[in-house]
């Protein structure tokens, strides 16, 4: 019990004093996971919408793959990104293994299927006839897609939240492709793992609380946007 209380006290202290190392780690976490979420949002929403609106042979297989991808184990992603970015790997010439860029790539790979899968479901649950109605209102194909995305904006924001939630709390891939380098690629999750293994439970708890609060506030903001001013 003392352990937890001490952890909370320490966490409070680290927070109110704006401990530079903790702040740095927090901002890096936010930057990496935020960028990864943004990338996954563009790819996931656009691809998810196009797949939802088109019919082609093998579509079922593609949809099953996306749905499976929603539960992609981060360590597997970490493993493959590491292999690809390895010095002798196919993309080794980029020399970005153990950099924040590599972490963004890995996290984007984790978040994209999540965003895509939820987008797919959200667009598909709109009534079929709505598309006809939008066309009948004189819309071009592009306008039709844009209106459908706006119609599905609530579940789409949920998709973005799920994507962000998935990557901000992810540790396996980050540690594998980022390397947990102090002041460079150390993020909240990797730091928590390290401090715990060192027996520094107080710092680990502090980092855990920050991580939890971060996830909470980001989702709070997105929820505010989602529920904003729905007319009576």
């Amino acid at each position: 019990m003392d352990l937890i209380l001490e952890g909370i006290r320490k966490a409070f202290w680290l927070l109110v004093t704006f401990d530079p190392e903790v702040m740095g780690i927090t901002f890096l976490s936010l930057k990496i996971s935020g960028s990864a979420t943004l990338i996954s949002m563009f790819i996931g929403i656009s691809l998810g919408t196009s797949i939802a609106l088109s019919r082609f042979p093998g579509r079922r297989v593609v949809v099953s793959l996306i749905n499976t991808g929603m539960g992609l184990p981060p360590v597997v992603v970490g493993l493959f990104v590491t292999i690809f970015l390895w010095r002798n790997g196919p993309l080794g010439f980029f020399r970005i293994l153990y950099t924040p860029t590599a972490m963004i790539i890995a996290q984007a790979i984790i978040a994209t299927p999540i965003v895509m899968g939820i987008t797919l479901a959200a667009i598909q649950q709109l009534p079929q006839k709505l598309r006809l109605q939008i066309f009948a209102l004189g819309a071009t194909r592009f306008q039709m897609v844009w209106i459908l995305i706006k119609e599905a904006k609530l579940p789409l924001l949920a998709a973005v939240m799920a994507g962000f939630g998935g990557v901000i709390s992810e540790v396996g891939a980050s540690i594998m492709v980022g390397g947990n380098i102090k002041g460079y690629s150390r993020v909240l999750t990797t730091a928590t793992v390290m401090e715990t293994s060192r027996g520094n439970f107080d710092v680990a708890i502090a980092l855990g609380i920050i991580l939890f609060m971060l996830a909470f506030f980001v989702n709070l903001i997105l929820t505010q946007i989602q529920q904003k001013e729905r007319p009576r």
Binding site: L132, Q133, I147, E151, P231
Partner: protein, 367 residues
């Protein structure tokens, strides 16, 4: 009368689904300003025809001409679609306010804000939903939602309006009030419209011409009187109903009833309709009684007409008797009465029906 020009013409239209022809219309045209109803049971092809005419689904083959110009699959479809509007059975509103819903088609066309506002306000007012302007479409009743959908279509000032059973999912009182408003607005705006319905009375009330559809084909097309009184085949006859449909004009009023002049004869009908208005009268054959003796025992029926039997069709348990009383009239007679009265084609009879046994459809003063 306005000179009517052809606005939409179709040649050899065929639609296939999964290799099976589900719609085949060799030729079909709609004149400017007319309201054409498509009637038929579910699955008759009404929706498919509307969606093909509006180019929302591509035909397997065939050509569509709008004001004489062919609508081509790739380049002129958008231009064509921006001249029409469509209202479905479901309101299909967007998840926003009533105002934004009604303005959506105009926004798609890139119209300026001020202009949009003016047009939207006009339509909201016209459909009696001005007070709902800022309400979310998700909180509307069925009738309000369908009014919004209609306002959205009319805001586009379409050259041709497609209505796909717009009232089918509304309760009767809501449907009646909306039908009345739509009738006025169609008259005011002189909008050309094609209206799919399975309700014969709706079709009679709104349309100048009727097309009866079944199994992907148009069986008959003509004025409501033509279709109702001279069905081309048994199927049409059974679908449009066996009742007599008469068109007339109100020439006299007396207390709770009025007199309509129908082909020179006067028919008394219970109801309150202004003098000079045009009406359609529907008389069900089971409500018509026949007698042969001129010295008739007292009947409470207010309408008694001498006539001649034109044709008798056996329906098994009873007979369907077609009469000519100066206007066409159909009566059902039991086999027992047939024998008792010894009715045969050609003989003179007296037909009677009550003033309360007539369904009245108002057609307005013009037309």
């Amino acid at each position: 009368m306005i000179k009517s020009t052809t606005i939409l013409e179709v040649k050899n239209l065929e639609v296939k689904r999964g290799g099976i022809t589900i719609l085949h219309v060799p030729s079909f045209l709609i004149r400017e300003g007319e309201i054409l109803s498509l009637i038929g049971p579910n699955g008759a092809g009404k929706t498919t025809l509307l969606q093909t005419l509006s180019y929302l689904s591509k035909p397997f083959q065939g050509e569509i001409f709008f004001r004489g110009k062919k609508v081509e699959a790739n380049h002129s479809v958008l231009e064509y679609r921006r001249k029409l509007a469509m209202v479905f059975q479901e309101p299909l509103l967007f998840d926003t306010t009533v105002f934004d819903n009604v303005s959506s088609g105009l926004k798609i066309r890139g119209m300026k804000k001020g202009e949009i506002r003016e047009r939207v306000m006009e339509q909201l007012d016209r459909f009696g939903i001005l007070h709902l302007s800022h309400r979310s479409s998700r909180t509307l009743s069925g009738g309000e939602a369908q009014r919004t959908s209609l306002a959205r279509a009319f805001a586009l000032q379409p050259e041709i309006l497609f209505l796909d059973e717009p009232f089918a999912s509304l309760d009767p009182p809501t449907r009646d009030s909306l039908l009345e408003d739509l009738e006025h607005i169609l008259q005011q705006t002189r909008t050309t419209a094609i209206f799919a319905t399975h309700d014969r009375l709706e079709a009679l009330r709104l349309s100048n011409r009727m097309a009866v559809m079944n199994e992907g084909k148009i069986f008959q097309i003509g004025s409501p009187g033509e279709v109702m009184n001279h069905p081309v085949n048994e199927w049409v006859a059974s679908f449009v109903g066996a009742e007599t449909i008469l068109t007339g004009k109100v020439i006299n009023k007396d207390g709770g009833s009025f007199f309509a002049s129908v082909e020179g004869q006067e028919i008394e009908v219970v109801g309150d309709i202004h003098l000079g208005e045009r009406v359609v009268l529907c008389i069900r054959p089971e409500n018509v009684t026949l007698s042969t003796h001129s010295s008739q025992e007292g009947t409470s029926a207010r309408n008694v007409f001498p006539g001649r039997i034109v044709r008798i069709v056996s329906l098994g348990l009873y007979q369907k008797v077609h009469l000519d009383c100066g206007f066409p009239l159909v009566a059902y007679v039991t086999n027992h009465s047939m024998e008792k009265l010894s009715l045969t084609a050609g003989i003179a009879v007296r037909a009677a029906f009550k003033a309360t046994a007539i369904t009245v459809v108002k057609k307005g003063e013009s037309g």
